[in-house]
């Protein structure tokens, strides 16, 4: 069996997640021992046909992008959603809170009506085509990404935690942000980042999206204990997960 042929595709996003792949630097050499990159617009000029693994970054915002994504799905054996924008819409979905015309008016003013500025509701990748594997984070963590690639290459189901960030945060012995009277989304957010933000003195803002069954009602009820309002909490939850049903109390 030859090396799996891998292609990377981007949709609406900051391209920070594919940048993380470039950030592997020396490990890129190890990576290409395991897989064969065949298409990657940001780094190479080649185009490929049939592929084993399609890595898709970004949210889907326009009809033409849905079409492009469906074509990618057809060409790919395995489709991997890379990063928050792809796995659950990420910050892009904040846009869905405002009616499109208003968003266009805010950003493009009087020129908003121009046809190429049209954009539909923001969607995560799985809302358009079936997704085989999600790699969470904004941006993804390269250590996690490279581990998952190795696990896939070794033929095993990648380990993706379904426990909250608090687990990793505790293991790193951080002072809990709630002790500073801050709202931290760690208790409802999927781990895997090694509690990067709390370890850097910042609350968790939920970029990896919720665990399978977040106890969101607890989060709402607990706010009073910290002198916070539900509005404060919702403001935080919305940043990366405004499209998630599971975060609504």
């Amino acid at each position: 069996m030859g090396k799996p042929r891998v292609a990377i595709f981007d949709f609406a996003c900051c391209e920070g997640c594919q940048l993380q792949i470039a950030n592997l630097d020396e490990d890129l050499l190890n990576l290409i021992e395991l897989v064969e990159p065949v298409e990657w617009r940001e780094a190479m000029s080649e185009k490929a046909g049939q592929i084993d693994v399609a890595i898709v970054e970004g949210s889907i915002t326009r009809a033409e992008d849905e079409q492009r994504l469906k074509e990618i799905r057809q060409r790919a054996e395995i489709l991997m959603a890379l990063g928050s924008c792809a796995t659950h819409g990420g910050v892009n979905k904040l846009r869905n809170r405002v009616p499109l015309e208003e968003a266009q008016r805010i950003v493009y003013g009087a020129s908003a009506g121009m046809p190429h500025l049209q954009s539909g509701q923001v969607k995560a990748v799985h809302e358009v085509v079936p997704v085989d594997l999600k790699i969470y984070g904004c941006p993804i963590e390269i250590t996690e990404f490279s581990r998952i690639i190795r696990e896939l290459a070794a033929g095993r189901t990648p380990f993706v935690p379904n426990y909250p960030v608090c687990v990793e945060c505790k293991l790193r012995e951080n002072v809990c942000r709630y002790e500073y009277n801050e709202i931290c989304l760690g208790p409802v957010t999927r781990a895997g980042c090694n509690a990067r933000c709390p370890s850097n003195g910042m609350w968790c803002f939920g970029c990896r999206g919720p665990v399978d069954h977040p106890n969101i009602n607890a989060a709402y009820d607990v706010m009073a204990k910290y002198g916070k309002t539900v509005e404060d909490l919702v403001g935080k939850l919305e940043l990366f997960c405004s499209g998630e049903e599971r975060i609504r109390g």
């Binding site: 949709f11 609406a12 996003c13 900051c14 391209e15 920070g16 997640c17 594919q18 940048l19 993380q20 470039a22 950030n23 630097d25 020396e26 890129l28 050499l29 290409i32 990159p37 990657w40 617009r41 940001e42 780094a43 190479m44 000029s45 080649e46 970004g58 915002t61 326009r62 992008d65 990420g90 910050v91 892009n92 904040l94 846009r95 405002v98 208003e102 968003a103 266009q104 805010i106 950003v107 493009y108 003013g109 009087a110 020129s111 121009m114 190429h116 500025l117 954009s119 904004c138 941006p139 390269i142 990067r196 933000c197 850097n200 003195g201 910042m202 803002f205 403001g235 935080k236 940043l239």
Partner: protein, 434 residues
């Protein structure tokens, strides 16, 4: 001479974001020549509306993965301006240090992974691993140094977490600064390898000139990235960041989702070459030596040479980074000044920083509780789009007699020279500020 030239590059590769090149010419007559930006619009200005001041940086950092530190810094400075805050000088210097890491990371990525393949006649960096292993290793060294640098100061390679309104959420330890300093020292030889390679390949950069206006931050006596006023090669007058709209007159072009900008002329250029043309005399010794070795002089108006200016800046930021670290270690990090308290208030603030690709502006307005009621961001690549188009219009007639493939490559290389960051350029100046 090709009778008809028909070039349609959909989604030019090896640039960040989506851009198209269209050229149709018949019998030496250009029918259509366009630099198009079809990137999906993302509406960040709408996204930050209604968000708390605490979350602005987190959101706008996501405008661009490659210049997330620049966006973060522009946002923090603008929010702090709106709330009338003073940031302690040491924290300003730490921020600058983080900002330098991004310049190195972005420039080395661009030069090594995106431009080098053009100069060496390849489609990607992959074949270079075999053919030019030393160069590739040097690029990886420089690139990973930039990343590690941002991680040490900002807490992450992309989308920094420690930068916050009022200062930092956490400071690096002195040991971390010491080992960062070692990394930077070790990076200098790698930069030399890159500069030598660029020196040998410089004659493959097309010989093309077009006078234009160059715009960048200026500050007396400094090759500045983080502070200063807006300067131009067309005028002695400088404009404070708070009035950036005077400079970046943006308009929507039918050929792009991103916006275009003009100031004294119909277009201007921002980025490494602009910074060099305005501030070149303030380079530190090593960087200045690199510039003269590569033959870069003030007044250069070959946009392809933006790549050379980026190389010079890599040396500059590492050199100044070492100097900054020495100063910080000398005075000791002051945990007391890590952060100043924030009192949100009804107000408006704007700021400018030099992103790797050029000058970047942010403006926000807040209500009395510190919720954002209006925002505007003006991104370097937007400011360059019109200039790219104008370059196209001068360049194509000069080369129309060449082979179609060669024309295509030269146009692509021109676009790449600007290192356009299209994903962040899809924003629009909201002239009627909401």
């Amino acid at each position: 001479m090709a009778e008809t030239v028909n070039i349609q590059v959909d989604h030019i590769t090896r640039v960040e974001g989506h851009g198209n090149i269209v050229l149709r010419a018949r019998d030496g007559h250009i029918e259509k020549l366009e630099w198009q930006v079809p990137e999906a619009p993302r509406f960040f200005e709408a996204m930050v509306k209604g968000r708390s001041w605490q979350d602005i940086q987190t959101v706008v950092s996501r405008i661009c993965g490659i210049c997330s530190v620049s966006h973060s810094l522009a946002a923090l400075k603008a929010v702090e301006a709106a709330f009338g805050m003073e940031i302690p000088p040491q924290m300003q210097r730490l921020r600058l240090l983080c900002h330098y890491g991004e310049q190195l990371e972005s420039h080395s990525l661009h030069l090594g992974y995106l431009v080098a393949p053009d100069l060496l006649g390849q489609k990607s960096v992959l074949p270079l691993i075999e053919s030019h292993p030393d160069l590739v290793r040097a690029v990886m060294k420089a690139h990973s140094t930039g990343n590690r640098w941002m991680e040490v100061i900002g807490g992450r390679m992309t989308h920094p977490v420690r930068l916050k309104v009022g200062g930092f959420t956490k400071l690096p330890t002195e040991e971390e600064l010491v080992s960062l300093r070692t990394l930077l020292e070790e990076c200098l030889p790698a930069l030399e390898v890159m500069a030598d390679a660029l020196h040998d390949l410089a004659d493959r950069l097309p010989d093309f000139r077009r006078e234009t206006e160059y715009v960048a931050l200026v500050r007396p006596g400094e090759y500045t990235f983080y502070e200063g006023h807006i300067g131009s090669t067309d005028t002695e007058e400088t404009v404070p960041p708070a009035q950036f709209e005077k400079v970046a007159n943006e308009y929507v072009s039918p050929q792009s989702t991103a916006k275009w900008a003009r100031w004294h002329r119909e277009s201007y250029m921002v980025g490494a070459l602009a910074r060099f043309n305005l501030n070149g005399e303030y380079l530190l010794p090593r960087a200045a030596a690199t510039a003269s070795k590569l033959g870069l002089e003030k007044g250069n108006c070959n946009p392809y040479w933006n790549n050379i200016a980026q190389m010079v800046e890599c040396v500059q930021v590492v050199e100044d980074g070492i100097r900054l670290i020495d100063a910080l270690l000398e005075e000791g990090l002051d945990e007391q000044s890590r952060t100043v308290p924030v009192t949100p208030r009804d107000g408006e603030g704007a700021a400018a920083v030099e992103a790797p690709r050029g000058i970047l502006f942010h403006r926000y307005r807040f209500d009395s509780r510190g919720f954002c009621i209006g925002a505007n961001m003006c991104i370097p690549t937007n400011q360059n789009h019109a200039n790219i188009q104008k370059d196209f219009e001068k360049l194509v007639p000069e080369i129309l007699d060449r082979d179609q493939e060669e024309i295509r490559l030269m146009l692509e290389m021109l676009v790449r020279a600007y290192d356009p960051c299209i994903s962040c350029s899809t924003h629009y100046l909201d002239v009627t500020f909401v």
